[in-house]
Symmetry: D5
Subunit: 144 residues, 10 copies
C-alpha cells in the first residue's frame, strides 16, 4: 500500500449553495470513513479547496469522482505526494470557512483578502491548509 496526500481547488457551480455543501459534507464523511479517507474541506461562497489523504488507488478513484461532480467546476490539482503518516487522522472530513477564521490568513497567501486558491503554489496550498486547521483545531468538527 502507498498512502498519498492530494490537494485541489475548484469553483462552486451556480446551483451549489449552503444546503448542497452540507449534503456533500455529510455524504463525504460517511463514505470516507468506509474507504479510509481523511482530510479537510475549505469553502467560501466561490471556491472549494480540499485536502484528501488515504490509500493511493482509493484517492485516485475518489478524486476522479470528485473531479466529475457537477456541483463544482474548474477543478485544478495543486499538490500530490506520497506520505507515510496522515495529517488529519482524526477527521473523516473536517470543514472550515477560512473567512470565519481571519482575513490575515488569506492575505498571507493571496494577493487580496479574497481567497484565490488558483494562484497558490503547491507549497502555499499545503501551508495554508495546515495554518487554517491549526487555527480551528478546537471547533473544526462542529456541524455546519
Amino acid at each position: 500500500m502507498t498512502m498519498v496526500r492530494l490537494i485541489y481547488t475548484s469553483q462552486l457551480s451556480d446551483n451549489c449553495g449552503v444546503p448542497e455543501v452540507r449534503s456533500i459534507l455529510k455524504a463525504a464523511r460517511v463514505n470516507n470513513q468506509k474507504i479510509g479517507v481523511t482530510g479537510l474541506l475549505c469553502y467560501d461562497p466561490t471556491h472549494f479547496m480540499q485536502w484528501i489523504e488515504g490509500e493511493r488507488n482509493i484517492i485516485s478513484r475518489l478524486y476522479h469522482s470528485i473531479a466529475a461532480d457537477p456541483r463544482h467546476t474548474n477543478v485544478v490539482l495543486l499538490d500530490y505526494g506520497e506520505i507515510f503518516q496522515r495529517e488529519f487522522a482524526k477527521w473523516s472530513m473536517a470543514y472550515v470557512n477560512p473567512g470565519d477564521v481571519s482575513q490575515d490568513i488569506i492575505l498571507r497567501y493571496c494577493s487580496s483578502i479574497e481567497l484565490n486558491p488558483y494562484s497558490m503554489s503547491a507549497e502555499a496550498a499545503r501551508s495554508f491548509m495546515l495554518d487554517i486547521a491549526q487555527m480551528k483545531r478546537s471547533t473544526l468538527d462542529s456541524d455546519i
Copy 2:
C-alpha cells in the same frame, strides 16, 4: 503560470487494441501541440503509463478528460509536481513499448518481467520513464 508534470498508469479496456492506441496517439499529438502539452506514452498489451507536462490548468483539464476516457480503466495517479523546465519539450507525445526496448529495464523496477506500473512509487515511475526515453531517444518519434 505554473508548469507541472503528471504521471499516471491505467489498464487498457477490453475493446482497446492497437488501432485504438494509434488513434489516441494521433489525436493526442494534434491536440497537445495546440494546448502546449508534451510527454511520453508507454504501453503494452495490458497497461498505459503516461507522462504529461504543461501549464497547470491545462494539465488538470486534460487529466480529467483522460481519466474519464472509456478506452482504459483503473487510472491511478503516480506522480505530480511543479517543474520549471520540461523534460520532453521536443515531443508532443512520444511513444514507446517498453517490451521493445529490453526486458531488463522492466525487471529493474518491477517484481517480474511483466510491466506492473501499479506497483511503482513516484520515484520509480519517474526514473523508469526517463530510462525508457533515454534508450529510445533515436527512434521515439517514429510513427506506430
Copy 3:
C-alpha cells in the same frame, strides 16, 4: 559486536489466541533477558508486529526461530539496520494492543482503522511502533 534493530509483521495462526500469546510473551521475556534482547510486541486478533533489538548474531538466530514458529504465518521483514543505542533498553519485551491505545494512531499509518502492517514501509513501521510505545509508556509493562 554489532547491535541491530529488526521489525517484522505476521498473522496469528488459527489456533493462536490469547492464551498462546500470553505464553509466547512469558517465555520471550525470560529468554530475551538471558540473551540480551529487548523490544516491543504489538498484537491484535489478526496480526503480530514486533521490534527486536540486540547483538547481530543473536537477533538473526532469534528471528529465524520466530520465523519458523507455527503460531504465526506470513512473516514479512519490514525494517532492519545497525544501531549504536537501543530504543527499548528498559523492556525485555514490552507488549501493547494498538487498538487499546487509540484508533487514530492506526489510521495515521494505515488505510483503515484495522491495523494492516503488511502495507507499511520501513519508515512507517518504525514511526508507528515508537508512537505506540510513547503513548503507553506508563502502562506498558503491565501483564496481559
Copy 4:
C-alpha cells in the same frame, strides 16, 4: 509493491561441496526467474554471502526458506532495505568466487586474506559485493 535488497552470510555445512553448490545455483536460477528475484552469490570453501533483491513478501519467504536450508548454518543477516531500482536486473543469480578475483579485494574489507563476512558491517557488505560484481562483470554468467 515494495522492492527490497537483502544480504546475508553463512557457513557451508560439512557435507556441502562443489556439487551441492552447483545444484543450489541451478535450482535457484530456475526458481528466481519464476518469482522475480535477482542477485549475486559469493562463495568460497567456507562461506556463502548472498545478495537477493525483489518484491518484499517474496524476499521474506525466500529468505526464511534459505535460512532453514541444512546445506549451510549460522545464517546472519547483514543488510536489508527498500530500493526503487535493482542492481542485478540482468542476473537471476550471478555467481562468483571472490578468491578467483583478487586477494586484495578481500583484504580491503577483512582482517586477513581469508574472506570473513561475519566481520562486515552492512556498508562493507554492500560495497564488497558491488566491487566483486564490478570486477567479474564480463565473466559472471559463465557456468560453474
Copy 5:
C-alpha cells in the same frame, strides 16, 4: 500568481518633511489595501527604507511608480525574491522610525549609529527590517 518581496532604500528630497511622509503613508495605506500590498516603511530625517510584498505584477508597477516619485532620490533596490507567504499580512503599510526604537539596532547593521541603508547587503536589509518590526510589534499601527 507569483508573490514577491521587494526592499529598497532612498534619500528624502529636500522638500520632503514630516507632513509629506504623513501624506505618503496615508495614501499608501489606502492604495495598498486596494491592490493587496502589505509592508513596512522605515524612515529617519535622511532615508527611506521600505519592504513591500504582494502580487508580482503589482509590486513591479508600484515600485516603478515609487522609484519615479520626486519626494525621494537615489532609489536603490536592496532585495527581491519570490515568497509563498507574506511577513506583514496584518499591515497595509506599517511605519517605524528606527531611531525611536534603539540605537543598537542600527549599529548592529551599520558602520555608525546613523542609519546607512546604502551600505547594507540584501541579507542585512531583510534581517534589519524584521528586527525593527519585532521590536515595535505592539506600537506599529499607531498613527504618525
Copy 6:
C-alpha cells in the same frame, strides 16, 4: 561595492520595431561599456527580456531609466540578486532572438511555442537566458 544581476521582461510598444531595437542596442552598448554593465537582451516581435549585471547603484539607476522608457510597457522584475562574479563579462550587451535559436528552448519554459516571459519564475528566467546564451555563444556578438 556590491555586484548584482537583474532580469526583467516587458512588451514592445506599438511604435517599437526593428529599427528602434537596433538603436536601443547600439546606444546601450556604448553606455554600458562606460558604466560597467554587461548582459543579454532577448527579443521577439512582442517581448523584451533582459539580463543586466553590474554595480548595485548603477544597475538600480539604469533599471529605473529602462522601466520608464516609452519604447516598452508592462515592465516586470523577474529576478534580482547579489553575485560575486558576472556571467556575461565579455558582452556589453549581447543580443538574441530566441525564435532564431530553436522552438524547443521556448517550449521548455513556456506553455506554448510563443515566448511568454510573464509566466516564468525567477529560476526559469535565469535558466532560460543561460540556455539561450549557451546556444548562441558563437554568433551572439554579430550585429542585428
Copy 7:
C-alpha cells in the same frame, strides 16, 4: 597547540582491586591537574573505560604510559579526535561505576547488562560516557 579527546578500554589485572583503583585515581588527579588533562574514568570489577582530553602531545605521552601500566591489560583505543572545546573542564578525573548508575544505561549500548566496552563503536563509546556523566553530574566528584 592541538587539543584532542581519547577514549580507550581495558581489563583490570588480577591484582588490581579497589585499593589500586583508589590509588590510580588519586595520583591521576594530582598529575592531570599539573599537565592540563581532564576526563572521566568508568570502572567495574572487570573493565576500565577512560576519556582523557588535553593537549595532543601530552595526551599521547600519557596514553602510552597508561597503555604500558601493568595494572590493566588488553588496552584498546576506541575513539580519538581533535576538539576545540573540552567536555570535562571541571574534572581533573571524574569517576563513576556505571553499575551504580542504572543497568539500563549499560544495556542501551551492550548486548547484556554486563558492561562490555570492547564491543562498542567509537560513537557508542562517546555517547555512553556522556550519558554516564550526565546522570552522575551531581555526585561525580565524591571520593571513591
Copy 8:
C-alpha cells in the same frame, strides 16, 4: 560597505600594567564610538585578546595601528571574516579579565588554567570570547 569581525591576540609589553590598560580602554572607547567600532577586550597579566567589528576599511586601519602599538608585542591574527550583523553592538569596547570569570572557561579551550590564546584555532577563539561575554553580560561595562 562591508562589515567584518577581527580577533587577534598579543602579549603585554613589560612596561604595560593596569594603568596602561585603563588608558588604552578609555581612549579606545572614545575613538571606537567615533569610528563605529564595537568589541570585546580580554586581558590578564600576560595576554591581550581582542574582538573588533565594524566597517572593513576602518577595521584594517585600526588593526594596523593596534599591531604597531608598542604596549604589546607578538600580535597574531586569529580570526577574520565578513559579517552582516555585529555581536557587540551595545559595547564600544567591553572589557573582561577571563580569570575573574572562572578557571573552567579557560581550561575548556587551553591546555592549562593559564590563558594561552596563541594555541587557539579561529573557532576556539570565537567560541571562547562569546562564552566569556555571555558570562559577564551583566557586569561587563563596569570600569576597571
Copy 9:
C-alpha cells in the same frame, strides 16, 4: 602549527614604480623561501593585491611588516582563514599583472575594466586570484 591564507589589497605609493616592484619581488622571494611563505602578487599601475600563505605566526609578522611598508598605502585585509593545504606551494611569490591576462577577468569581478580590489568581497578576491593564477600557470615564474 596552524597554516593560514591571507589576502589584502593596497595602493602603490606615488614613488613606487616598476623598479620598486621588481625590488620588492626579488627580496620577497628570497625572504619567503627562508620563512616558508608562498603566494601570488598581482599588481597594476595603481593597486597591489597579494595572497600569502604559511605558518600563522609568520604570516602575522610578515603582514604587519607589509602593512607598514611605505611603498604602498590604504592596506585593506580582504580574506583570512586556516588552511590545511597551500594553493601555491610551488611559488615563493608568483607575480602577475592582471591586465596582461585579459580584461574580461577583471570585469568579471569589478564594476569596470579597471581593477578595483577594494570593492571585492572575500569570496570574490579568492576566486579572482585563483582565476588569474590558473590563466598564467605557464608563464607565472618568468621574471618581470
Copy 10:
C-alpha cells in the same frame, strides 16, 4: 570486527639509521602479513610518519608495541578512526621518503621544505600520506 586507521609520527632515535629502518621494514612486512595489517611508512633522516590499518584490537596491540620501541621517540598520535575499507590493501607496508618525491609536497603541508609532521592536523596528515602514495604508486614496493 571493527577496522581502523591509525596515523602517528615520531623522531628517529640517535642510533637509528638506514640499516635499522631496513630491518624495521623487513620485519614489519613479515609480521603485518601475518596479522592482516597494511599501510605506509614515510621517513626522512629525522622523522617517521606511519599509517597502519587493520582490525581494531590488532592495531591497538601493534601501536602500543611500536610506541614503546626504543628506535624512535616522541611518538604522537595524529589520526585514528573506524573505516569500512582499507586504503592500502595491496601493501603489507609500503615505504616512501617524501624528499625523494618532491619538495612541493612537503611545503604544501608544512611551514618549510623540511618535513614537520608534529605540526600537522589529522586532516593534513591523512591528505599528505595519500598524496605521497599517489605520487609513488609505481615505485612504492621497491626495496630501500
